[in-house]
């Protein structure tokens, strides 16, 4: 036997981190969806006056509501994955690294949820 890995471990293909390509794949998926969303967001925002009334009316349009919610979820998922890699690369002290990773993950979750709730509140006119 030239390979010390079990046949099950090899067929699962998850490697020593037990994650396989999950992180890589999700970062690419969120990147892909963000290309059209970011372009629409950037140029859409530039093309409208940003006073309160116009902003609320725009967000209340169903297509904008849906687009913005997907944008926010994708942005914070993508940000979490990216910041995780940066922390893993540059923070070498184990405890600091673990605490930073937990904080970044929770912060991204918190901000994403606040964003979605804000959009829904505006869209549903509460």
């Amino acid at each position: 036997m030239s390979d010390l890995r079990t046949p099950l471990s090899r067929v699962k293909g998850l490697g020593s981190a037990k994650e396989g390509t999950t992180h890589f794949w999700r970062q690419r998926l969120t990147a892909l969806i963000l290309i059209p969303l970011v372009l629409c967001f950037g140029f859409g925002l530039a093309a409208m006056p940003v006073d309160y009334t116009t902003l609320i009316a725009t967000i209340q349009h169903p297509a904008v509501t849906v687009g913005l919610i997907i944008l926010i979820i994708a942005v914070f998922y993508h940000a979490q994955l990216g910041l995780q890699v940066i922390i893993e690369d540059y923070v070498s002290t184990n405890s600091t690294r673990m605490v930073s990773l937990i904080l970044i993950t929770f912060l991204c979750l918190l901000l994403g949820v606040i964003g979605v709730v804000a959009i829904l509140k505006i869209a549903l006119g509460a």
Binding site: L34, F43, A47, L55, A79, L83, I86, L111, G115, A118
Partner: protein, 129 residues
């Protein structure tokens, strides 16, 4: 240990002239961090808008100030730089564009595209007012 003292060291990051591709690579990370903070302020603005006209206007007044405009233009440039360079990364992920000349051309194209997109966005924004 004495003999090791005279051994040549690998170049330190501070005195090593980074290749162009490496500068763009670290820029991708830097813009990523900048955009994470920009996303935070986007949520701030959204939450303020959800809070009503009064809380929104307390943030709205900062948009047209000089520091607000510098922040927004900086974020726009970071956003398009990260977007264009990210598309380069997606092509590399499919195995395309790894040749040195191609990578050098795509690097310049990404920077040019980011600047053009930024200018286009702000031309529209300034015309809308």
């Amino acid at each position: 240990m004495k003999s090791q003292d005279n051994r040549p060291l690998s170049p330190h990051l501070q005195i090593y002239r980074l290749p162009f591709a490496a500068i763009l690579s670290i820029t991708h990370r830097a813009t990523g961090v900048i955009l994470s903070m920009a996303a935070l302020s986007m949520i701030w603005v959204l939450a303020a808008a959800a809070g009503g006209a009064e809380s929104y206007s307390s943030i709205y007044v900062h948009f047209s100030t000089w520091y607000g405009q510098i922040f927004l233009i900086g974020v726009t440039l970071s956003l398009y730089m990260h977007l264009c360079n990210g598309i380069r990364h997606l092509f590399w992920d499919t195995g395309l564009g790894f040749e040195l000349e191609t990578a050098a051309i795509s690097a310049k194209a990404a920077i040019a595209a980011a600047i053009i997109l930024t200018l286009a966005t702000w031309l529209i924004a300034f015309n809308v007012g």
